[in-house]
Symmetry: D2
Subunit: 138 residues, 4 copies
Amino acid sequence: MADGWAHRVPLRVRYSETDQLGTFYNSRALEWFEVGRTETLRAAGIPYAAMERRGIFLPLVEARLFYQGRARYDDLLEVQTRVALDGKASLRFDMEIVHQSDRAPVTSGYTVHAILNADGRPTRCPDWLRQVLLTASS
Amino acid sequence: MADGWAHRVPLRVRYSETDQLGTFYNSRALEWFEVGRTETLRAAGIPYAAMERRGIFLPLVEARLFYQGRARYDDLLEVQTRVALDGKASLRFDMEIVHQSDRAPVTSGYTVHAILNADGRPTRCPDWLRQVLLTASS
Amino acid sequence: MADGWAHRVPLRVRYSETDQLGTFYNSRALEWFEVGRTETLRAAGIPYAAMERRGIFLPLVEARLFYQGRARYDDLLEVQTRVALDGKASLRFDMEIVHQSDRAPVTSGYTVHAILNADGRPTRCPDWLRQVLLTASS
Amino acid sequence: MADGWAHRVPLRVRYSETDQLGTFYNSRALEWFEVGRTETLRAAGIPYAAMERRGIFLPLVEARLFYQGRARYDDLLEVQTRVALDGKASLRFDMEIVHQSDRAPVTSGYTVHAILNADGRPTRCPDWLRQVLLTASS
């Protein structure tokens, strides 16, 4: 996309995701980041489930989150994702969650993922995955 | 709807909802039931968030679940909901979660909810909510 | 135990387990039931993790829950568990969660579990598991 | 404590916290960090629930996590916490989660929290909280 986001996915805040302060509980943002990754890879042509079946796993090795604004039950959010290679054997997903209505920021951050083969060993990014990333970021 | 379901909502299984057996963790079904209730009430014209702002709360008092089949990460499910008054001061949501592709059953069951006012007291179903239920079940 | 509970385990309500009504979110009770099962089997001499390594799996097939009272962040609860064979190839855990201080009820109910072997087939309760159940209920 | 950790709390991995890779799902680490904060403040003499009743709230504004090793269902972990003032109106909790048996690292990181009053406004750290922090870090 022109503004650099590979993908945008709408997401409703569930009641189960709130806490007693009336906003979403902080760990849910990592679960929403995962929804963004999943839909970005699907849009680029290779769902993550298919990727695991091909013997490529992308476990999280680092996450950073900045909590910028509230989001309440039933609010309609948008999860924006950008993905890129980060060195030879890892991927980085940049994330920004905003309110769909007024673009007010909710949480931004990033996650870094190792690229592992079926034996759990770090592996260079395979060509087909490199192609997926190009598609995702174009 | 002709088959008696008030509402159907699609739902993707998240990675965060799986467990080490490779299927969804059992408590997630209650969270998916909640998604079904939320979308059923929205479709009937009164989102649950608006209902709480009007001073009507529907806390769960009973839940029953039958686990019928597996659902894996990224599977596309459908949450089917039917709602009805259950006595004077409670509601019952009947639920069935199936795979969208082949209708294979995942989880069925129901939840029963007290109808409480803003003071936390049981209250008769208000007329506007009765109207919502009629809309939802027609 | 004299009162029929096989095991009691203390449990603190986490902030992540609350919702915007200020009490615990309903699906957490199923997660607390699981804590009760885990500690009951450990106390009876065979942790569930060891059971899975022996090729016995106990997936949930039915759950029923009655929500009886509130529990807030940081409240100290007690999960009480009783376990018994339920037919030839299933187990039933009866559960009651109360406040530790005044025994005020929070949630009661039960879960029914199939007894499956490593191939995912229903299997008769092995003798060693039958022995565990006797220990657990004595 | 001599090694700089304000508090250590044991924690069992729940089945509900695992995912299909057989280890804990990444967002659970933020929930475990919360358990560490809760027990650290309790040990220092003022439970967080009491703090909220005094009109002091500590919402998360930033979190960083490094995933270092696996942890499976029923593994016994230890959550280590260190807390300090971070500027005039925020707190920082440094965290390290390890296996209790062999101290193998699982997740480390930190969370930064605004200090807000009951109106949701940033406020200087009150003296009693400053005292709690001194107790926690001695």
